[in-house]
Point group: C2
Chain length 531, copies 2
Amino acid sequence: MPTPLQDNLVHRVNVGDTLTRTADRLPDKVAVVDGDRRITYRELDDWTDRLARGLVDRGYAPGDSLALASGNSAEFLAVYYACAKAGVVCVPLNLGWRPDEAGYVLGHAGVRGVVVETQLADWVGQALDGLDGVTDVVVAPGTGGPVPETLAGRTTVTTAAFEGAAGPVEELVEDRAPVTYLYTSGTTSAPKGVVGNHVAVVVESLTMALEARWTDDDRFVAMMPMFHTAQLNCFCTPAVILGATLVVHRGFDADRLLDTIESERITQVFGLPMMLRALTERPDIADRDLSTLRRACYAMAPMPESQLRRAIEVLGCELFLLFGQTEMSPTTTLFRPEHQLTHAGAVGTPTVSVRVALMGPDGERVAPGEEGEIVYRSPQALTGYLHDEAATEAAFAGGWFHSGDIGRFDDDGVLWFADRSKDVIKTGGENVASIEVERALYAADPRIAEVVAVGLPHERWTEAITAVVVAQPGAVIDEAELLAAVRTRLDGYKVPKAVVVLPDLPRTSTGKVQKNVLRQRLADHYAEGTR
Amino acid sequence: MPTPLQDNLVHRVNVGDTLTRTADRLPDKVAVVDGDRRITYRELDDWTDRLARGLVDRGYAPGDSLALASGNSAEFLAVYYACAKAGVVCVPLNLGWRPDEAGYVLGHAGVRGVVVETQLADWVGQALDGLDGVTDVVVAPGTGGPVPETLAGRTTVTTAAFEGAAGPVEELVEDRAPVTYLYTSGTTSAPKGVVGNHVAVVVESLTMALEARWTDDDRFVAMMPMFHTAQLNCFCTPAVILGATLVVHRGFDADRLLDTIESERITQVFGLPMMLRALTERPDIADRDLSTLRRACYAMAPMPESQLRRAIEVLGCELFLLFGQTEMSPTTTLFRPEHQLTHAGAVGTPTVSVRVALMGPDGERVAPGEEGEIVYRSPQALTGYLHDEAATEAAFAGGWFHSGDIGRFDDDGVLWFADRSKDVIKTGGENVASIEVERALYAADPRIAEVVAVGLPHERWTEAITAVVVAQPGAVIDEAELLAAVRTRLDGYKVPKAVVVLPDLPRTSTGKVQKNVLRQRLADHYAEGTR
């Protein structure tokens, strides 16, 4: 019989192996452009080998975990792939967290070490306070500050000094071994550690490449945070499998993005709807050469139809939306280019690797056309929640992953997201999906730049539907006029009781509007009985 | 914690689930056209559920195996997917085997039952002789003969009567559980049982769809035998994942194929080089409407450049070649459309899911540009050889799958197949790749329709290189003239010692030339010392 390691090496599924395969096929192709650095696939693969060797040399074994505190950079990708090769679980930290939140995650994930960019040293230093189990601190060159010699009392080492000898690392890493612990950003509760695995990531990445029809000729801007599953698994890992090129940006800057599209002949961009809108609003947009763009992808939330039309026209490319969640690695449906205008507001049709069903509270599938909780089966599903068997059991009830999203399939088989279960507003004995109210508001008044509907405590209605609005630049929203306009579009009980105009909305670091923060801030809105 | 079954259902990789997902997405799309029957994805999925229930009702448990003796048909696909859903291992029988060979496989695979088409009842009846472990005989409607009531002393049941109740079957089937035992056709030795598994087939199928750029709009003719990995896993399983349509033919008939291309608006055909050539030689080919064809795929062997040019011109579509082997599920490289004429004779570049390396007899990688044994690492690799740990250990030596093929990468990273290890001719102390000799012969004389080079026993040369030639229709091959022409193209020791002209070449049922049969037949060619 072959040894267990030989057996594993012949046919395992491993995220790190996908990089090695591409390096073999396309050694001189540029994998990553990060500032002035242009790193080929051969160079990236060799670099990750040396980093993986550094992990093994320091005694990291498959199943150990390493935190990664880094903005988008070549180092981020190198550490991620090095961990995969060594069987070490990578734990990217969300840079939007407070130090105590980051500290909670470092402790919960039981990391042995942390890789930190120079400009994040203070933040990580505070997070490390009291965490004696974290013994290794590795400092990556970042965007600012000197390399500290010690951090939270620990001697540091640079990423360059951390590297081991050249050559492949061959550890026994099982197909379903954990590859990441990605902590959900937690709009409501403490972050949960989503255990991702090699099969889930590789199947999702192949599926994304297939569904989005990407090739190794594609050139991506990676500007959404890599610590988030969408940038990491919908774009970075498929690009590496194909041998495409990733141009790294540390965040969104409309002018810089336009410069890069021109200079790097970018074919694919991915951002939030507001970022795509911001692009279309640049004063010099008509003078820009966007002819290389094939597709723009947006995530998290549908775009109002007027913005969609404008983006398609101005960017001169197809648009599509990704829908899913961290637990599904993450893409479950694609709102495809051909549906953008005919089904505006939907979240699309399932990918070939995800089964999507709708379930009632009784655990039975709902009748066609009815709303239900969106549940999934897919090789892409998480292994489980780390150290939380109860949450895993609840999420896997009946042999389906329960998303917590409410949705509906229309007659064309297109999925419409109704709401997060917890975003359903309970008003006067009725359940109202906040998204339905939001859609009506968008349609009622073009002066609205952004709107969310939340339920606020109310003596009579239990929760009073409330529209929280951001106006277009220079526009003024008239509450009475808006409510009158929306009244023609919604059943009476779904019409907001009030409109609150704010200069902007609170967001998580990945751009999701934090409805819980709004509900907290506006909790007393109806307290005086004034409405 | 979730139960093991719930856990499995949430995130398993299962070939049967790929059909269910497509049935959910595209219920009314036609999955299979078989004669007058047009079977939708919903119908096919429901049918396989009932067949899977039939297996469970009769006590089949995951890991049990069922043989399938069938030509290409809707039933073949239904039984295959039903087995996958129930965790039962499907053992398709090669219809080219003698009854005793089929009997060997039935016994070796330890099948509990066999599904047999009516016209194959006699053949299977003979194969079953003495195999008491095979208790169930299920008869499918075939192309001829009545349904027998007993077969080899066993009471039979029809596939329709075998079906259980409607509704999904939910068995615990592990990601790497066996899905098929595919017996290699064995040009030299007893067939070996290649244990394929769900991850291997699903990764290969996603990869094929991605690399070949197929979509659910594609319409395939399935005319190569489904019992062979190439038709089954390169075309049928990717088509089902995508939701494309398979039009089933029981074999190759040029005129019928052309009729079907026109009537079913076929976009993809797959056949042997000689089949594509036969199409181009039909007298009415110019009057045929082939405008729907996007690509023609050929397998097993490269096509001579003149045939390639003619096929591209006449069929009016792109051509590509698949290379690989049953053990790799099977595709490892694609000889892509853009390389067909610039690198004619090569076998292409690796797919994104297969790592290809070349190894010397010392187990070390060879230097760039040198020949070596083609070795693989990939999630697509077989689990192992059934009941043959020694063969598995030998094949997995050093943590690579050893293909037994000799190859070379050129400077463009394109792989050239040099030979099967055992097809290397050892002559006068030199090793000569038979394929190099064959290429020179093709180039030397356009009157050659087909040629193979084999080494035959020879007192002086150990093996004497011998050209076995089939002439173009109506053409006559002159031995002296051919040898003179080839002498200008090859080193002296590579020039054949003799030319043997035959009316045709012996082949396996999947179209591979049986060099071992030729070597046997011609073993005495040099025995008299006449040459």
